[in-house]
């Protein structure tokens, strides 16, 4: 992922000219892609993206470097807000039916896409690493991350023990972390 770190945040905090434009150009694509993946609704994904930028602009001190990378924090907020919307929409998660895989939606408007926002090699590496995970680990990670289900809900939905859910998530995350460690400093 391109290093959008504390300098970006400091520029926003200090109200430097073009700081929001620079942050947008560096990161809106990744935030929007995530919101769209979670919500499946372009207009809602745009609203979430805009809301997050508004929040950051109005409350720059909500972030602190002790919370980790600024870029990671932005994605955490984007994901949380998307999940909040998903939950408020009360969209049913289908019990007993095959779980939706990550979308293979074709976006006719994104030929020059959001790839500039994140390093393409990192994106393809994580996708490849994800594909290599056992199906049962992929499934729980997707439900937890993109559907916003907590451990108990996943356990109920997949009829697994809570311990199994937790261990599948932990194992899956460890493998992904290992796969990416060679790419990160």
């Amino acid at each position: 992922m391109s290093p959008i770190e504390t300098t970006h945040w400091e520029r926003i905090r200090d109200r430097k000219p073009d700081s929001l434009a620079d942050l947008y150009d560096g990161f809106a694509g990744a935030m929007f892609s995530l919101a769209l993946e979670v919500l499946g609704d372009r207009w809602e994904a745009e609203e979430v993206t805009q809301d997050v930028f508004a929040y950051v602009w109005k409350n720059p001190k909500a972030y602190s470097p002790v919370k980790g990378k600024f870029s990671s924090w932005l994605l955490v907020i984007t994901r949380n807000r998307s999940i909040d919307r998903l939950r408020s929409r009360k969209r049913k998660v289908v019990h007993g039916e095959p779980i939706e895989a990550l979308s293979n939606r074709q976006d006719h408007s994104s030929e020059d896409g959001a790839e500039h926002a994140v390093r393409a090699d990192e994106r393809s590496s994580i996708k490849e690493a994800f594909k290599q995970l056992p199906q049962d680990q992929r499934e729980v990670l997707e439900l937890a991350y993109f559907k916003g289900l907590n451990h108990q809900e996943i356990s109920d939905q997949l009829k697994l023990s809570l311990g199994t859910v937790k261990s599948r998530i932990r194992l899956g995350m460890e493998k992904l972390r290992r796969a990416l460690s060679s790419l990160r400093p």
Partner: protein, 403 residues
């Protein structure tokens, strides 16, 4: 990936503020989360989102001259809340009360046509992802609403008749803008930003029509009548950087001061509020020197009241037209201003419902709504009773259900 109870959250926050090991752990989890975000399919937001987002950094409008004007001082002196807050839904009529069969057909056909358009422009539609062909095909198969509207609205004239108000609200508030953008889509020369605009306008228009004719779609109207708080962010989202059209004029909206909080308690109330805002937007945008106009929602200027304001730079001759629109001046009205006078009388009707403890003369004299010139800017506004205590109703966050 789990969820903490409130007590656990509080303890965790304390730990997070002071304990470096906890901070390190949170930072690592945050990084893990962002790693998973890379699994999303890459999609580019529309360039219009960038413009809308960058509007956030614009300096808030200085409204002090307007707020200190005599008109608003008068409102401050005289404003009193109704005993019971108006929740919308009055001023509705039965379709059978429309006397002219052609008018009835226009309402029914337009509603039906828009119900068909909504799924073609929602955020999951192919049009929202750049393929406009299904929308274009549908628009071509149906009559042009813009052409119908142009023919139909000629004989509109201001009146106090409720049935006429329901017709006029359905035809003159959000429909002119919507009809314009649908016509653009019909020609095949549309873009994502216009599709998004069609979606918001179409959703508003359907609600306005249901609130105007109680038997048009009783099932959906019942949903609209449920208690559901609507926040100002819903207006901010749809009006920021919105392209606007009112018959022959094109405009661009921006949002200035917007307080954060609830503004209406039911969809039917929100529909009426929306309709009032469209009336202001239509009146001001068609007179703006550069097409640009600004909407503001402020709460502190008059205690107990929310002020919705639309303003723009307007040349003095066009500003003069706005002075003659109130119904008290209707005897002198030039025919060219007939539609605009209808917009004004719709606003007057809504004010009467919102503040039934005042006569129209009192509302007008005390500036519950009105027009004010400050330097080369014209300001239009209306007051609405604020929501004091949020109650336990559901919150309309996305307005997605019950479109």
């Amino acid at each position: 990936m789990g969820f903490l109870s409130d007590d656990e959250k509080a303890s965790f926050e304390v730990l997070l503020a002071s304990d470096t090991a906890t901070q390190k752990m949170v930072a690592e989890i945050s990084d893990d989360w962002s790693t998973l975000a890379l699994l999303s399919n890459p999609s580019a937001p529309d360039s219009d989102l960038r413009s809308r987002t960058l509007m956030l950094v614009e300096e808030p409008t200085d409204l002090s001259q307007f707020i200190e004007s005599k008109a608003i001082a008068k409102l401050r002196e005289n404003y009193s809340k109704p005993n019971a807050r108006y929740l919308g839904g009055e001023g509705t009529v039965d379709i059978s009360e429309i006397r002219d069969g052609k008018d009835k057909d226009v309402i029914l056909r337009t509603y039906e046509q828009l119900l068909g358009i909504l799924p073609l422009v929602n955020g999951e539609s192919s049009a929202a992802f750049g393929d406009f062909s299904a929308l274009q095909k549908y628009a071509i198969q149906n009559l042009s609403i813009k052409e119908q509207l142009a023919k139909w609205s000629d004989p509109l004239s201001p009146t106090e008749d409720q049935v006429a108000h329901s017709l006029q609200r359905s035809l003159l508030a959000s429909l002119p803008s919507l009809a314009h953008f649908i016509d653009v889509a019909r020609s095949g020369k549309t873009n994502l930003s216009e599709i998004r605009r069609i979606f918001y306008l179409c959703r508003d228009q359907l609600k306005i029509m249901r609130a105007s004719f109680r038997d048009l779609d009783p099932q959906r109207l019942a949903e609209d009548e449920l208690i559901r708080l609507h926040g100002t962010h819903l207006l901010h989202q749809k009006w920021t950087g919105a392209r606007h059209s009112y018959f022959n004029s094109q405009g661009l909206a921006s949002c200035g001061n917007f307080f954060e909080g609830p503004i209406s308690e039911r969809c039917v109330e929100f529909a009426e509020y929306d309709s009032n805002l469209y009336c202001l937007a239509n009146l001001i945008s068609s007179r703006s020197s550069n097409g640009g106009f600004k909407l503001e929602l402020i709460k502190d200027a008059v205690p107990g009241c929310v002020l919705a304001i639309a303003h723009a730079e307007v040349k003095s001759d066009l500003d003069g037209e706005l002075d003659i629109l109130p119904s008290s001046h209707l005897t002198n009205l030039p025919p060219s201003l007939s539609k605009d006078a209808c917009l004004w009388t719709l606003l007057e009707g809504s004010m009467r419902r919102g503040f039934p403890h005042h006569s129209m003369g009192e509302l007008s004299d005390a500036s519950f709504f009105g027009k004010q010139r400050v330097e080369n800017h014209s300001y239009l506004w209306f007051a609405w009773p604020e929501i004091e205590n949020t109650h336990s109703g559901a919150v309309a966050s996305t307005e997605k259900p019950g479109q």
